[in-house]
């Protein structure tokens, strides 16, 4: 994963609460064999049924930041929900409350989930509606989100923040123990099985 520090991008208002992962990506999109290319599944039902849905509007086609209502990412644990947001181009989602599993999955995939207050959410929505397509500025080290005149401090746990800033996924963290893994391998017993070269074929 890439290291994240500060970035700016178009912020899109998703003025809905309780957005569950079935809404973020419907089950029909789960049969894929790739880990990318899920952008067409993102909010698929809403995008297909509502021409005025925020992400159907031209100015939001390149959004990087999503400002959502409370209880974002509830329901099914599907990792695909994060993949879909990421593949669409989102780098951060802000809400006053996230579902635990979704938030955990996001941290593993390099998607910032920042908690701001409901009041801040409402005020940022107002700014976005007054200035459609305005860019927001995210500062991960200082945990701030700036939209127009509003600067909101967001919450994110220290461990996830550290991993995102260092660009470390779980695999990256494990690989920091490369020396310990190599040392373990060096003393592994010779009787232990190897699949190669293949025998019994």
């Amino acid at each position: 994963m890439e290291k994240i520090s500060t970035f700016n991008g178009v912020a899109a208002p998703l003025k809905r609460g309780n957005v569950d992962t079935d809404q973020i990506i419907p089950a029909v999109y789960l049969k894929r064999i790739t880990k990318t290319g899920f952008e067409d599944g993102l909010f698929a039902n809403w995008r297909q049924q509502d021409p005025d849905f925020v992400l159907n509007q031209e100015i939001y086609k390149n959004s990087k930041i999503l400002i959502a209502g409370p209880d974002f990412g509830t329901g099914s644990s599907r990792e695909h929900a994060v993949w879909a947001l990421r593949d669409f181009g989102f780098q951060a989602v802000f809400s006053s409350k996230f579902a635990d599993i979704f938030r955990g999955n996001s941290g593993k995939q390099g998607l910032i989930t920042g908690v701001i207050t409901e009041d801040e959410t409402e005020r940022i929505w107002a700014v976005l509606e007054a200035n459609p397509g305005i860019e927001a500025y995210v500062d991960l080290p200082n945990q701030t989100l700036r939209v127009g005149e509003i600067t909101a401090r967001f919450e994110i746990d220290e461990y996830t923040k550290w991993r995102l800033m260092e660009g470390l996924d779980d695999i990256g963290i494990t690989l920091q123990n490369e020396a310990a893994i190599a040392a373990y391998e060096a003393k592994r017993e010779s009787w232990k099985p190897r699949t190669l070269p293949a025998k019994g074929v």
Partner: protein, 471 residues
């Protein structure tokens, strides 16, 4: 100084510890063997590609095709497009990354949990993972074997390690001697009925006692296989001479000095006398009957001599509601004798019960008999090797003469991912592991049974034990 007495599971954990987690962080464990199949691996390979990573230990990794594969006409392309795409993705990924694969048509192809042991790759003292919950099967050899998710598959491919939170230990003590017609499957169904489908959550189960020690490796695998149906992280049996004899001479079993060193270590793989388990369960093997399920989870089981329970008599409101829902789905009335339940289909197969011993036991029952009218019996060997061995022993002839279908290896009717499915409303006696709603096909009804009960049921057309058959 004497060290703290340890359980077998704790010894295996300690012997694979790469980094001890501090401040609540998980321990990092080394993984000795990684088994792969087509369903849970495509995104893991894609993740490697995206991150520009390679597989750390191709020589500890092996793949086969099982969940999506047909069991008839295996020379033809797979008809269903998503199944075909998943299998093709596995072939492409293993070719690109240099992973050994046993594809459909290869004599070593089969259900991943049958392939590992028959090649001698599964042995005592290992950590074994696979993106499949029934990886617990391999615990029968005294290894720590766990099912993992797709992200973890990618993690193991890239690092050959896995961060894991510690577990609790539970002893499942099964003492006594099984009566004729009662087998390993009945033990594990009785265990799950006793501790429920959530009873093992957070635990590694160790199956112990004289009845377990008397079991063959096939029987031990059947029991460990279904540990996950009790919610457990893994299931284990301490290795002994039966384990060593099973392994000796298999393609990947150690040889010469390596064999001697291995056996010396394997003999230390048992729970210390003074070790304390976090929980203990006792099952009396002497009085155990053949066990069958009546409901829609593997914990909803009774003796075959018993009747469908009455939900009104279940005290716990959640369990009562679950039983009511289950009976409605299963279309069963409370009080119905289990032996009066007629089935349409008998399925002998799956990673639970499709090894050579299972086929032999069932063949013994059906030999010289004819299946009941209106019964369809499918026999699906767990691997091509099992199929070939069975044919060498003439078992295919026995099943065909009986009126059963003799199929190629795969997961088959255990799950609705391939062409082998029940029609809505059909009822099966199945040697598989899950009787969930829709598991064997939309609207299908499943009774989990042992191989010999499956065979006897195919003879009579109703759930039956071998003792119900006329001599």
């Amino acid at each position: 100084m004497t060290s703290k007495p340890l359980t077998l599971a704790e010894k295996l954990w300690n012997d694979h510890l790469v980094v001890k987690g501090a401040n609540g962080a998980p321990d990092l464990l080394y993984i000795d063997l990684h088994l792969i199949h087509e369903v849970t691996s495509p995104q893991a390979f894609d993740g490697l590609r995206l991150a520009g990573r390679d597989i750390r230990r191709k020589d500890l990794t092996i793949a086969t095709e099982d969940h999506n594969t047909p069991t008839l006409d295996i020379h033809l392309p797979i008809a269903e497009p998503t199944s075909r795409a998943q299998v093709q993705a596995l072939r492409d990924n293993t070719a690109e990354f240099g992973v050994r694969i046993h594809s459909l048509g290869d004599k070593n192809q089969g259900i991943v949990h049958v392939v590992g042991p028959q090649l001698g790759l599964t042995m005592p003292g290992l950590t074994i993972v696979c993106g499949d919950s029934h990886t617990s099967t391999h615990g029968a050899f005294g290894s720590l074997a766990m099912g993992i998710g797709t992200s973890e598959v990618e993690h193991v491919l890239a690092t050959q390690t896995l961060p894991l939170q510690p577990f609790k230990t539970m002893a499942i003590n099964v003492e006594g001697t099984l009566r004729p017609g009662v087998s390993a499957k009945d033990i594990i169904l009785a265990v799950i009925a006793k501790i429920s489908t959530g009873g093992g959550q957070g635990y590694v189960l160790e199956y112990r006692g004289s009845a377990i020690r008397a079991l063959s490796m096939e029987g031990r695998m059947t029991i460990c296989n279904m540990s996950i149906e009790a919610g457990a992280r893994a299931g284990l049996v301490a290795p002994d001479q039966i384990t060593f004899d099973y392994l000796k001479g298999r393609p990947h079993a150690p040889e010469g000095a390596d064999w001697d060193a291995a056996v010396e270590y394997w003999k230390t793989l048992k729970t210390d006398d003074d070790a304390v388990f976090d929980a203990e369960v006792f099952i009396d093997a002497d009085t155990l009957d053949p066990f069958v399920t009546w409901g829609t989870n593997p914990g909803q089981g009774v003796s075959l001599l018993d009747s469908v329970p009455n939900p009104a008599e279940i005290a716990d409101p959640n369990e009562r509601a679950a039983a009511e829902r289950a009976l409605e789905y299963m279309d069963l009335a409370p009080g119905t004798k289990m032996k009066d339940i007629a089935v349409n289909t008998v399925f002998l197969g799956s990673c639970t019960n499709a090894r050579i011993e299972d086929l032999r036991a069932a063949a013994e029952i059906v030999k010289g008999r004819k299946k009941a009218d209106n019964i369809r019996m499918m026999v699906v060997p767990g691997s091509q090797k099992v199929r070939l061995q069975a044919e060498e022993e003439g078992l295919d002839r026995v099943f065909k003469d009986f009126g059963a279908e003799w199929r190629f290896a795969g997961c088959s009717m255990c799950l609705g991912m391939n062409p082998d499915q029940l029609a809505p409303g059909e009822r099966a006696a199945s040697t598989s592991n899950r009787n969930f709603e829709g598991r064997q096909g939309k609207g299908a009804r499943t009774h989990l049974v042992s191989p010999v009960v499956a065979a006897a049921t195919a003879v009579r057309g109703t759930l039956s034990s071998p003792s119900d058959l006329e001599a």
